[in-house]
Symmetry: D2
Subunit: 110 residues, 4 copies
Amino acid sequence: MHQQSKEMQNCIDQCLSCYKICLGTAMTHCLEMGGKHVEPAHFRLMMACAEACQTSAHFMLINTPHHKHTCRECAEICEECATDCETIGSMDECVQACRSCADSCRKMTA
Amino acid sequence: MHQQSKEMQNCIDQCLSCYKICLGTAMTHCLEMGGKHVEPAHFRLMMACAEACQTSAHFMLINTPHHKHTCRECAEICEECATDCETIGSMDECVQACRSCADSCRKMTA
Amino acid sequence: MHQQSKEMQNCIDQCLSCYKICLGTAMTHCLEMGGKHVEPAHFRLMMACAEACQTSAHFMLINTPHHKHTCRECAEICEECATDCETIGSMDECVQACRSCADSCRKMTA
Amino acid sequence: MHQQSKEMQNCIDQCLSCYKICLGTAMTHCLEMGGKHVEPAHFRLMMACAEACQTSAHFMLINTPHHKHTCRECAEICEECATDCETIGSMDECVQACRSCADSCRKMTA
């Protein structure tokens, strides 16, 4: 990859990893577990988190200065998603990916 | 469509229309005109605008309250894209779609 | 919009409309109804249909000849989604959007 | 991640990596080099390749059997993109990512 700082390259990777884990967890684990896992507020948060991560990666890859705003929003949604997944339980991989992505995104907003 | 207010439905349509016009203009008109039209700052702004519009529509369709933040960011990028397209010229359809989308997105951020 | 034939412009609009209705129906109606509506096979089909439609529109807007293949796949998924929504019931808007999009996409594959 | 075979997990990673490299290369390297790099046919192919890769990853994450068709199309576009990048030159990372992704996608179409 060109031009992007090591920090931005790392953030792109964290975003794509979190996109992958949130979307994959929602569409396999959550749909198959049912109950709390498909409760609208939780499921929408998982899907919004996946989309926010993919969009933030996209903005950094486009190399636009607007990535600062998408990264700020992404950090916020990831934190909320991590807390929600922790409360519901059995989604440790998702909790970890969201926390790690939020940390990485916050560094890009400065 | 369900649940979404008339105002939100209108905003989803404005976002999808602006996504369509920005992406279509960049990938046909701009690439074929060359020169100023493929200057990195301009082309990236067109692509960021298309992505921001598509993401805002997606967030409203997911029915997540986070759409307020994506709509605020979308309004900002659309205004910037409209101004840039106006300066370069020969992209009136894009200027109009961006302005109209920005107006609609601002109403969703309250 | 530039260059695209009237037929392609119509297909782009059908794809974006079907994307909007499938995603919106899944994330509001289906999640809130529960039961059969969040059964994994059905819900995945709704989400795959929304993504296929958005991707086909994207390929036509990019103006790449590969749109013929994405339109063929889109027509197939839309037909399957229409049939599934008809069987489950109470999703007439989705059935109609999928059928109409499938018709439009088939015309682009010639 | 749940349920997905090791082979599918690998293909998802290859697709997201190729998405990242194609989009990043187009929006930085190609836009800044200009000339052949922003010639419409080449630039559209880069953008179509990025979108095809992201969509194939998305379909596998949704866990829909339709991923076989998106993977077939993705393999085809990746091969074409690799050849085009090789001809134009100075995009070795992109050539390699496209070839590797095409190999991985072909294994998913059986």
